[in-house]
């Protein structure tokens, strides 16, 4: 067997992966681009001035009027993207003069989750009248104006957790009062149903493909993540080989395609504390047209669960699982298929293990991000996730 240098991928190896793992064209484009750039330089720190200059060039490419960028500063949060907030002083089309708070969201050289800014941009814009989302303004999908692909969206008001609560990373483990749970849960369900039932046929989602009836949707899923595993893993893990085979052997049939958020959970929505209204759904980068069971399996992951005052486990800290599924079925008109749900639980585990164990290692090893020390830290969660996946597989087909 020929040794492969994953840190300097050969064109032949890249082509062999593209052939082995057919996926949506835009996903293929960004994964291929990543591999072709891998042997290049590590990520080097960027100055705020260079970012402002890039933002200026991006805005100027689309907006002819005068404008000024002020109050630029780095934002923390998230292991995957660089974020800079700023205020744009401009004549906003259809509004007039405005001081608009905005956020630039840009990839590092390689991200722990490699996704398409174009897909993220199109998806948020498509659902802006469906669920609360921040407005999106501009997208530099190829890094033409900024050092790396980026998008600019509006600053959304709200918090991911009550300002008085304690929780872990990304709002996980957040304790919510019963009053707040009762206010947020119906909105949580309503948004999920609206996303899944969104009629995407007339939306500008040119960077997305609709899976054919049958197993293509599930096949694209495992092809995507097995390809990333192959591209990034260092030490092999026999259990991951077994899991990939299990997923391929048990491909579920897609009953009814829908829009999938792919990271629908507590910590990924903002709410305004004064009226307990969900004000924005965030982190759409993994969204796709696919099987809504993917979201259901993700949202009900015990990692996002929190126990209530009586010790009962609540989905995302909001409601018991049975209540969650019943409310979802009623709101969406869709049926939850336990077998399909189980398959997507294994797929989700496989994908998050791939991100943390394989990609996390690879990009830190090559110094590709602004947060190498954080993604290295995340490598350590993989054994727990692997054990969770092992238990899911052991439960049977």
């Amino acid at each position: 067997m020929l040794a492969i240098d994953k840190n300097k991928p050969s064109p032949e190896w890249i082509e062999s992966l593209r052939e082995r793992f057919p996926i949506e064209a835009e996903i293929d484009r960004i994964l291929t681009r990543r591999l072709k750039r891998r042997a290049g330089p590590s990520y080097a720190p960027l100055t705020l001035e260079s970012m402002i200059e890039g933002v200026r060039a991006l805005i100027r490419s689309d907006h002819s009027g005068p404008f000024e960028i002020t109050q630029a500063k780095w934002l923390t949060g998230g292991a995957s993207k660089l974020q800079m907030s700023f205020v744009l002083d401009w004549q906003r089309p259809g509004v007039g003069h405005e001081l608009t708070r905005m956020v630039l969201r840009m990839e590092p050289s390689e991200s722990i989750v490699e996704t398409s800014r174009l897909r993220e941009f199109q998806l948020i814009r498509a659902v802006q009248d469906v669920v609360p989302v921040p407005p999106v303004f501009w997208c530099d999908s190829t890094g033409e104006f900024l050092p790396y692909p980026a998008l600019i969206y509006g600053f959304a008001q709200g918090v991911t957790k009550p300002t008085t609560s304690a929780s872990g990373v990304s709002g996980l483990g957040t304790q919510l009062s019963k009053t707040l749970r009762d206010a947020l849960f119906p909105q949580f369900i309503d948004s999920l149903a609206r996303i899944h039932n969104f009629d995407y046929h007339n939306a500008d989602l040119s960077a997305f493909e609709v899976p054919e009836p049958g197993t293509q949707c599930a096949l694209w899923s495992i092809n995507w993540w097995e390809r990333v595993w192959e591209e990034d893993c260092d030490e092999d893990v026999p259990l991951m080989r077994l899991a990939a085979a299990w997923l391929r052997r048990n491909l579920p049939v897609l009953e009814s395609p829908g829009l999938v958020h792919a990271d629908y959970r507590v910590g990924n929505f903002l709410f305004t504390e004064a009226d307990s209204r969900i004000s924005a759904w965030l982190d759409w980068e993994l969204g796709r047209i696919g099987d809504p069971h993917q979201d259901l399996a993700w949202t009900t992951n015990p990692a996002f669960g929190v126990r209530d005052e009586s010790g009962q486990m609540l989905v995302c800290g909001l409601a018991p699982e049975a209540e969650f599924f019943a409310a979802y079925e009623k709101a969406s008109g869709r049926q939850v298929n336990p077998k399909t749900l189980h398959w997507y639980k294994v797929l989700n585990a496989y994908s998050i293990i791939t991100l943390t164990l394989a990609t996390g290692y690879r990009i830190a090893r090559n110094g590709k991000t602004h947060q190498d020390v954080l993604v290295t830290w995340l490598v350590g969660i993989a054994p727990m996730l692997l054990d969770d996946m092992r238990e899911l597989i052991a439960q049977g087909d």
């Binding site: 067997m1 080097a44 720190p45 260092d234 030490e235 092999d236 893990v237 026999p238 259990l239 991951m240 080989r241 077994l242 990939a244 085979a245 299990w246 391929r248 052997r249 015990p302 164990l357 290692y361 830190a364 090893r365 110094g367 602004h370 190498d372 020390v373 993604v375 290295t376 830290w377 490598v379 350590g380 969660i381 993989a382 054994p383 727990m384 692997l386 054990d387 092992r390 597989i393 052991a394 087909d397």
Partner: protein, 179 residues
């Protein structure tokens, strides 16, 4: 185990250079001096770690050689019996340790990686075409082995704080036998 010291040190050094050092107050001389020392020690650690075991074995062999030559030269009138016996005992122990310390840790890691790769490839091929009924025993074996190894991996990484119920894990030194 993917979470090895090499990648940890590398990423810590990069965070220091890219983020922490530029943010330090240039007028805080103590902090400026100590961050350089931290960097120096981490760099030294990253260079020494891969060779540490070899270095220690080499030192032990040299000490053993010197001790063996030194013992007959020690005048019984000017050295006490207990001191000579202590060196004799220590030489015996060193003989035993050196006899057992034949493989370099890097060889162990290489062998782990090779076995992981070969096993993974075989599992992939075996499961790719067969039905579950054909590969049930093989798959059960992988699941059982993974359970045992992941218990150790999770315990090894317990200090990171990921576990939902850390109390259920036994101390790591009870899970990995001494060589």
């Amino acid at each position: 185990m993917q979470m090895r010291p090499e990648i940890q040190i590398k990423s810590v050094l990069k965070a220091m250079v890219d983020v922490v050092i530029p943010a330090l107050d240039p007028d805080n001389q103590l902090a400026q001096e100590q961050i350089k020392l931290c960097m120096g020690l981490l760099d030294l650690l990253s260079r020494q770690l891969p060779l540490q075991f070899r270095f220690d074995c080499d030192e032990l062999a040299r000490l053993r050689s010197m001790g063996a030559e030194l013992l007959p030269l020690a005048d019984p009138h000017s050295t006490d019996a207990a001191a000579r016996q202590a060196l004799t005992d220590a030489l015996k122990v060193s003989d035993d340790v050196l006899r057992r310390a034949k493989a370099d840790p890097s060889e162990v890691v290489s062998s782990v990686r090779a076995l992981r790769a070969a096993t993974g490839e075989l599992v992939k091929q075996a499961c790719a075409t067969g039905q579950r009924s054909d590969t049930a025993r093989l798959e059960n074996l992988v699941l059982e082995h993974s359970r045992d190894q992941l218990l150790r991996d999770r315990t090894w990484l317990l200090p990171q704080g990921w576990e939902r119920d850390p109390a259920k894990f036994p101390p790591i030194d009870t899970l990995i036998p001494s060589v």
